[in-house]
Point group: C2
Amino acid sequence: MNTVTAGILLIGDELLSGRTQDTNSGDIARFLGPLGVQVGEVRMLPDDTEIIIANVREFSNRFDYVFTTGGIGPTHDDITADCIAAAFDLKISERQDAIDELLVRYKPEDLNPARRRMARIPDGASLIKNPVSLAPGFQTNNVFTLAGVPQIMRAMLDDIGHRIKGGKAVLQRTIPVKGMGEGDVAGPLGVLAAKFPDLSFGSYPFFNDGGYGLRIVIRGTDETRLGAAEAALIALLGY
Amino acid sequence: MNTVTAGILLIGDELLSGRTQDTNSGDIARFLGPLGVQVGEVRMLPDDTEIIIANVREFSNRFDYVFTTGGIGPTHDDITADCIAAAFDLKISERQDAIDELLVRYKPEDLNPARRRMARIPDGASLIKNPVSLAPGFQTNNVFTLAGVPQIMRAMLDDIGHRIKGGKAVLQRTIPVKGMGEGDVAGPLGVLAAKFPDLSFGSYPFFNDGGYGLRIVIRGTDETRLGAAEAALIALLGY
């Protein structure tokens, strides 16, 4: 199978301290799935120049696409743009096209040195539109550098789909099974996993006021095979 | 400063597909902060034996403590216990102490082969109590292997605090600043970061129905220094 992959680097001390709950990685994964791109790994990294540079290089080599979120604002700990430039040995400077974006929102006299930092873009990178707060993201080789604020990050994805060449979209079916535990379905799932090696099978327990059960998720790229596996599962469970 | 660190490995394809939202890393980070342990990196990994083994080895060397979540249930894709054993060149087998825990919940005749898999524990590992569903986690060297289901994971943390030797607890103060953007506070924050190199300063924008603003977070281990920095910040902002 022609698998197209992505890696995600979530940048910011606030994620590692547990102060901020990441939702960006899930949003990116659900954006990429229908495009036929599978996320292979996600990392949360501290605001540390050397660590970020090393991870950008590693992920750019390992994955078809890389997404970074966070660290492109105006404050002293916003170091992502400089790290991306360093990772690819590119110069970085204030770019007029990025300043022009900011001037749609800010009066020239409000464009203080801190805000001008948001127009520092690695040489040769193409801007990614930010319809929310206008400070752009940017693409450098196969790396997309996005904002950390979820509303802004999601809006930036609208300017990314057209840049991606995905593989076959991954489809999934979810079969809820009430009143069974993982130990009850493990045998049948193992049988199915051996019989349908082109599909993946997961079981996810839930507990709620209405009782307990599992959601069984079957994933793959072939609709017909998914249907066959679902039928086989239901027969095996006698459900 | 005597910094004690932890790394977290979140294991499971369902995290990478965006099907399941991680909350375990934040729960672990907030559990560790008061114990004086700082999370240095978090990774979400696929259900892939070689990848998990390599990451367990790397993190066990890099960090004082490592937490893994996920992959210790009864199904075919629950491979974490075997990976931990392989990472440390340990044998793994069904252990009677773990079977005894399961027998509190299950009748012997319900302890089918799938459920018995949850009693496979690497040699020499000490069990971690699971008061919710009884299938234990375990500690191998500096690695704590916990369940992926958040309710169970959180309950297992109760049996971990006494095993950890932390450093100084990291304290934090949060100062809400309404009606200002990051570009307005970036200058003052940069000044403070230079003046208080022992503290860290972050600014986190919010947008809600009541308007917009920032939360400024100051972190450090010395209560007096935090107070001085907070006073200096308020003076600089004229707030």
